[in-house]
């Protein structure tokens, strides 16, 4: 599991690669934590994210909870079928902007 963050004028783009399972979650949370502090819209690029567990979803939710009070949105980009299934089951699909 690797994370890379790219910052533009109005967006913070985080690109996740590999599997975000329970074991990988603590590290991923650490690296994604600063995203919300930037005061910009957040884009999470999932094009290389193969797998996500509920601990991964929790990280996404906590980012959302931090961004929302500032009127910023969190966009999940390029989600594959496996991750889309999980988002749907959990109801997260209506919380995030999915592109």
């Amino acid at each position: 599991m690797t994370t890379s963050i790219l910052e533009t004028s109005d967006q913070v783009i985080a690109k996740l690669s590999g599997e975000l399972d329970t074991a990988a979650a603590p590290l991923a949370e650490q690296s994604l934590q600063p995203l919300a502090d930037k005061g910009k819209d957040i884009v999470i690029d999932c094009s290389e994210l193969e797998y996500i567990s509920s601990s991964g979803l929790r990280i996404f939710l906590s980012i959302l909870k931090q961004a929302q009070p500032f009127g910023k949105q969190v966009v999940l980009k390029n989600v594959n079928d496996v991750i889309r299934d999980v988002l749907e089951i959990s109801g997260f699909i209506s919380l995030f902007v999915i592109e």
Binding site: A23, S53, S55, L61, Q68, D85, V86, I89, S90, G91
Partner: protein, 701 residues
């Protein structure tokens, strides 16, 4: 309140019609007989009266003959006037009916005797005869009608009847001329004849008590009739008066009057009178009796019809009741049949043929968590009571075994419920098995049921310990036994309807019969369980050969012969870092058979979330522990088994989080079990032998 239903009207109608019919016939018969009687009466009267007329005529003939016989003596002695007295006496004496006789000589016949001469003899009551000479100045016989008439016609003459003398005898006078040798009329002989006896003779033999006969002159004067002392003399007078036209015709209504005229002089008529009521008395009496009989007959008819109708109604009610019961039984049978499994996978098959509409047998199976739960049971007795208990047992089994997987526990719970309120002391034998479809581990409990057959390459019987049947004692302990079935093993469970099926000679099919069929089956081509059950069923029926099925026939066959089995397992410590090992394990496992990636990812997530849950919660307070994960597949289904030694913890008991809440209100936790549940077909928890056991299953076809 009488209700005039159709059947009652019908019954009354029958009686009324019968009454009318019988009455019409009776009236017709009565009229016919009446006519016959009338005809016969006529004939008889004619005969009787003919005889009577004959008698009267004969009498008159006799009288006349007697007188003619004496004629010659008178004629011979005409020359001696004095001898005329003795001649008269002779005539009177000779004839018993003659009470007096006179010889009235033509005037001046004997100059010596004066102008008129009439010797007279009369019979007294004592039979003596008194002689006198009647003629005198106060008795000029030449003026009497009889003398004049004979003088004029010189022919005999019968006078009209008259009454004479102190006894008021009814007399007639027979007069005839006496011609002397010169051929001249000498005298008129007049004989007074008493005919009062004729009335007695006429009335001596009468056909009916009130009948009487009359002898009348042509003009209707009574010559002879019944004695006046007769009780019905008033009737005699009425008839007489009516015959003479003194009373209207209707006065003699109620009488049959027959008349006949004598065929000689005097032209008297005989009248025979019968009362109609007496003529018809017998037939009327008969008719009254007949009416009584008819009434009696009608009463019996009404009674019988009523009885019949009541029986009919009872019969109809009974047959309606039977039809209703039959209908309900058919519904009960359908309900019972619908409770039974109808579709079978290759490794299970069964059949139930009730001896009656409904049966006391049951079998069932279902698959849960990759395990086959199956049972067979036989309630004591047959028919509806057994069926009701069977239905209760069936429902209980379904309910209990949804949660319990230990056969011993299932039997205990069933037994406890069936003992409750079992006042009719019914019981049932029951066998419960739980076969792990991946491992072949069979756990079973037997409540008094026949040991199942075990078919491998040979035929044996499962060494199951026979406990008490269900419903006997509430505290019965049911021992649970476990064994591992070799691949390809078949279990055959049955009720005694199989072994105790009887033929017409009452011989049972028996275990030898069953084993023979099983042996045949094992050596045959088609080894399917459906074939096994069908073969046994038809063998039983052909053995019974038409003898009525004595008991419900139930069979259940179970086979452990999974193909394409893929099994693996891993033991993990209760640390989140172990999830990496789990991920590797599961990826390797999925690589062993074809499975779609998205499906595999979902199952991997479900398993991961479950395992994480166990790691998080089963060992509180940082206790170290381990958990085992088993992955099994038969190519159709995947089953994960997660077992740990932690505190009892049932993740399936937690409520699902609300996935429609917005981000602010969404709690962070609770997602794991939701994902597991949604991604798998089923998750079930049980606590067994101090372990938490979670089964996760998913169909992969």
């Amino acid at each position: 309140m009488v209700s005039f239903d159709r059947s009652r009207i019908f019954r009354v109608g029958i009686v009324v019609i019968a009454a009318i019919l019988v009455e019409v016939i009776s009236i017709m018969q009565y009229e016919r007989i009446r006519k016959m009687i009338l005809e016969e009466e006529d004939i008889r009267n004619n005969v009787v009266m003919g005889a009577m007329a004959h008698e009267v005529e004969h009498l008159l003939d006799l009288t006349e003959a007697t007188m003619y016989e004496n004629l010659w003596e008178v004629q011979r002695c005409l020359a001696h006037p004095d001898s005329m007295f003795s001649a008269v006496v002779h005539v009177v004496d000779d004839n018993p009916y003659v009470v007096g006789g006179s010889l009235a000589f033509v005037p001046d016949y004997y100059p010596a005797k004066g102008r008129l001469f009439e010797p007279y003899a009369s019979k007294k009551a004592d039979g003596s005869i008194v002689v006198s000479q009647l003629a005198g100045p106060e008795h000029d016989y030449t003026q009497s009608s009889f003398f004049k008439k004979v003088l004029e016609t010189e022919e005999e003459f019968w006078s009209n009847p008259y009454r004479f003398g102190p006894d008021s005898l009814s007399l007639v006078t027979f007069s005839y001329p006496i011609i002397n040798q010169a051929g001249r009329l000498a005298a008129v002989c007049g004989l007074d004849i008493d005919l009062s006896w004729l009335g007695d003779t006429l009335n001596a033999r009468q056909p009916y008590p009130s009948s009487f006969g009359l002898l009348l002159t042509r003009e209707g004067t009574l010559v002879a009739g019944p004695p006046e002392t007769r009780t019905n003399y008033a009737e005699v007078k009425t008839v007489l008066a009516s015959v003479n036209g003194e009373l209207p015709e209707r006065a003699i209504r109620g009488f049959f009057i027959n008349r006949t005229q004598l065929s000689r002089e005097p032209s008297w008529q005989l009248v025979q009178v019968n009362r109609t009521d007496e003529v018809f008395a017998r037939i009327r009496r008969q008719r009254r009796q007949q009416m009584l009989f008819i009434l009696l007959g009608l009463a019996i008819l009404a009674f019988m019809i009523n009885l019949y109708a009541r029986n009919e109604k009872k019969l109809q009610r009974a047959s309606e009741e039977q039809a209703r019961m039959g209908g309900e039984l058919a519904v009960a049978r359908r309900i019972q049949q619908e409770m039974l499994p109808k579709t079978f996978p290759a490794f299970v098959n069964g059949s139930l043929e009730p001896a009656r509409e409904v049966g006391g047998d049951l079998f069932d199976y279902f698959i849960r968590d990759g395990k086959l739960f199956f049972c067979i049971g036989d309630v004591s007795g047959k028919g509806v009571p057994s069926a009701m208990l069977m239905s209760v047992a069936h429902s209980l089994f379904r309910m209990v075994s949804q949660k319990e997987e230990s056969p011993s526990r299932i039997l205990t719970l069933l037994n406890r419920e069936l003992c409750r309120g079992n006042d009719s002391n019914m019981f049932m034998t029951f066998f419960v098995g739980c076969l792990d479809l991946y491992s072949g581990v069979l756990s079973f409990g037997n409540a008094g049921h026949d040991k199942p057959y075990v078919l491998t390459d040979q035929i044996t019987r499962l060494p199951s310990k026979a406990n008490l049947p269900l419903g006997v004692f509430p505290n019965t302990h049911f021992e649970e036994q476990t064994c591992k079935l070799a691949h390809g093993t078949t279990l055959l469970l049955y009720t005694d309807g199989l072994t105790e099926a009887k033929n017409a000679a009452k011989q049972p099919f028996g275990r030898t019969g069953v084993q023979a069929v099983l042996k045949d089956f094992l050596s045959g081509q088609d080894q399917s369980l459906g074939r096994l059950v069908h073969t046994l069923s038809s063998a039983t029926h052909s053995f019974a050969a038409g003898a009525p099925q004595s008991d419900d026939l139930t069979m259940l066959a179970v086979r452990f012969a999974p193909e394409k089995l893929v099994r693996d397992q891993i033991t993990l410590k209760n640390q989140l870092s172990e999830v990496n090992r789990l991920s590797t394990f599961i990826k390797d496992y999925f690589a062993r058979f074809p499975i779609e990636g998205r499906l595999a990812a979902g199952m991997r997530l479900a398993l991961e979330e479950t395992v994480v849950n166990v790691i998080d919660y089963a060992y509180p307070g940082g206790a170290e522990g381990s958990l085992s994960v088993f992955a099994d597949s038969n190519g159709e289904e995947i089953r994960f088994t997660v077992m740990d030694n932690g505190i009892p913890f049932d993740p399936t008991a937690y409520l699902e989080p609300d996935t429609t809440l917005d981000a602010r209100n969404r709690p962070i936790g609770g997602l794991g079990i939701l994902l597991s549940r949604k991604l798998m077909d089923s998750i079930s928890y049980s606590r067994r032998n101090g372990q938490n056991v979670l089964y996760l299953t998913k169909s992969i076809i």
